[in-house]
Symmetry: C2
Subunit: 413 residues, 2 copies
């Protein structure tokens, strides 16, 4: 086949990273309660201590350690009761030796408090006298100001995909608004004389636009936003017209189909028909996914993905996702599972191979079973649970070898 | 402590599942392109074959096997060229012995085609004659109608959280719209005299409403929708008034704080003040999270969560998430990692303990290191990567034991 500049996946990813990092991500301030799953635009440092005051972690009495030293069931310490602290209020006055003050869980400690004794180990003798039946060590049952987060500490880094817990800690920092990266705007063109939109009736030889919908879902799962989607027949002029529109409305364009070397594979010609168009990958050393084109028109990347759904979607995971992550400055800590392979897997040396697997649990471990099918088989991607990578310099993996399995879906297998 | 009806987490979850399953989930039809991450409302069976016709998986020639039997570089088979198939069009006529037809990748095969020979192994002698240099086996380079998905086959089950790939296969089924479960509507009340909303200034003894924000994020990550959120001081009448409002606007209510047994812990009294109010759990045998109340007002569950953030959020994961999953009929295939514990972990026998860990990779495996802190320490949940469960009849886990680690976040560690 006449691929002009076949690159390895690592080379392609490096180019994409460089392209992405030359851009400045667009940032927006949004209310904290809308921030779940968004990408944090800059580092966040603690503006205050959490907690902001010394708190009790139990219902009990604030004491000096020395006053309860050696206290026991038979010889309790006797302390002078000096009132109680109300929740959400400043402790009225400092504690003096020989005194105790009642503090509820989460209440502010009187100044000079050394320890909290749980009410279970105390008894009220009269309105002014408390018996304590247990000694206490310094700091016992106390959460000091800054124990959770100290003022000035870095709490969350730029690029963090905000979790519910992160939102909690930002609330503790009194951040009612938070700067996040705007979702990049993406256009998707499905090309091919055989492609028909869902909702239309299918004539012999035609297929529904699987790629347009599935790619739309993938880019949304990466945190991007689909702003333009069209099916285009293999007609160069029509393709060019549609590409003009797509470029106007989006920051990057995905095409599926037309990326191979046949007479009607127009993607390369299309990109190069723009004065500032440049194709830097034609043919990718991966399986599935060889007929892939990566290029740019001006500052906007163009991804020419294969027409076969499984190929298109796997290539999207290895190229578009990487570009978007770097564009958004997203911190990459992917979840993957270590698993043991249930059978031999052969691959094509010289190509990085992505093998879909299902997973079963066995004796405190994950067992990965390779799933096979022709590359058009989208049901592999709904039945499979994850995939693993076979490096290009290997001929495969043997049964029993350990592999990293990347789940195909977020949040469930 | 005077907890009235302490239940195990399994008992509590069973009650919640029963409550959830007695409800009929609300269903809505939405456009396919909006369906990512939504819960499928019913099983989907294939309405048609995918592909819907016999397709070529290569660019090449449709042949009879017998015609190319024994063909080689030196003795090619000679076939009569009978035109070509256009993409997206019906193959013009049936193939006869001695003939061949050009078919592009994805093109429809002429009737009676037995195999496809790649163009690499063919040569055009003249406009009407093709030489074939290789034999072909039956079905070679052919994707038959229904190979990917057969008509009538179950493709996706009720309760499936729709992935991008699932959306692709639904597109292949010509489903422009899909029935999904409506997001349950949730109210969150943060109670306590010390709780202040983000954006206000903090006086000594006060804290920001970490729980309201973090719980809001959690329920959103479960697929529910926050419709009502308020901070309420510990005043019974005000609590009752707010609860009335919350019940009116939502299908379930989460309270944080007020679930213990102190004088100002009003949650139990509040639920029981309703004629159809019922508390069935007061005290949960888990750590963190003992001071938990589970009840109902009419058909609506009320979750009385602890005030400490880590406790509130862990209890939410073990109770609210389970209830919502069952209410929505969600298929449960959580992602978890098998890991080896880096040190001993002690627990409280009789209580199910949830231990937060960080993860490192070591010699083709995950190593889990326990993280410790007082239960108010929300930074544990942003620094931790996952948690594991210590069953209530165990005293802990030893270094080197294998554990299932559930990631704290979706999609990243």
């Amino acid at each position: 086949m006449d691929f002009l500049s076949v690159k390895t996946i690592e080379q392609a990813q490096d180019i994409l990273k460089q392209m992405a990092e030359s851009q400045t991500p667009k940032v927006k301030e949004i209310p904290l309660e809308k921030a779940l799953g968004k990408i944090l635009a800059h580092d966040v440092y603690a503006q205050e201590n959490v907690p902001s005051f010394n708190r009790s972690t139990v219902d009990g009495y604030a004491v000096y350690c020395q006053d309860v030293f050696g206290a026991s069931e038979s010889i309790p310490a006797i302390l002078q009761m000096k009132g109680s602290v109300d929740m959400g209020r400043q402790a009225p006055k400092a504690l003096n030796p020989g005194e105790c003050v009642y503090v509820p869980t989460g209440g502010m400690l009187p100044e000079h408090t050394e320890a909290m004794v749980m009410i279970e180990y105390a008894e009220k003798l009269d309105e002014e006298t408390i018996l304590i039946y247990k000694p206490a060590s310094h700091g016992q049952n106390i959460s000091y100001a800054g124990d959770d987060v100290g003022q000035g500490e870095k709490i969350l880094g730029q690029g963090r995909k905000l979790s519910a817990y992160d939102i909690g800690i930002l609330a503790a920092m009194n951040l009612a608004k938070v700067s996040v990266v705007l979702s990049p705007q993406v256009a998707i063109l499905s090309t091919g004389d055989e492609v028909v939109d869902v909702g239309q009736s299918l004539k012999p030889g035609q297929i529904y636009d699987i790629n347009g919908y599935a790619l739309g879902g993938l880019i949304e799962s990466y945190g991007a936003h689909l702003v333009y989607k069209k099916i285009v027949i293999d007609d160069f002029d029509l393709l060019k017209e549609t590409m003009d529109e797509a470029l106007e409305e989006s920051e990057m364009v995905l095409l599926s189909g037309g990326s191979s070397v046949g007479a009607k594979d127009y993607t390369k010609k299309l990109i190069e028909s723009y004065e500032d168009g440049d194709v830097f990958v034609h043919g990718l050393g991966i399986k599935p996914g060889k007929p892939t084109i990566l290029g740019r028109i001006g500052q906007k990347p163009v991804f020419g993905l294969p027409g076969h759904p499984v190929s298109a979607l796997m290539v999207c995971q290895q190229t578009v996702k990487i570009y978007l992550s770097h564009l958004m400055g997203k911190e990459e800590r992917p979840i993957y599972l270590w698993a043991t392979l249930s059978g031999n897997v052969h691959s094509s040396p010289g190509k990085t191979t992505y093998q879909i697997v299902s997973l079963q649990e066995e004796v405190q471990d994950w067992i990965a079973e390779p799933l096979y099918g022709k590359s058009g088989m989208i049901h592999l991607l709904t039945e499979g649970m994850g995939y693993f990578e076979i490096e290009k310099d290997r001929e495969g993996y043997h049964q029993g070898e350990r592999i990293r399995v990347y789940p195909l879906r977020e949040g469930s297998l």
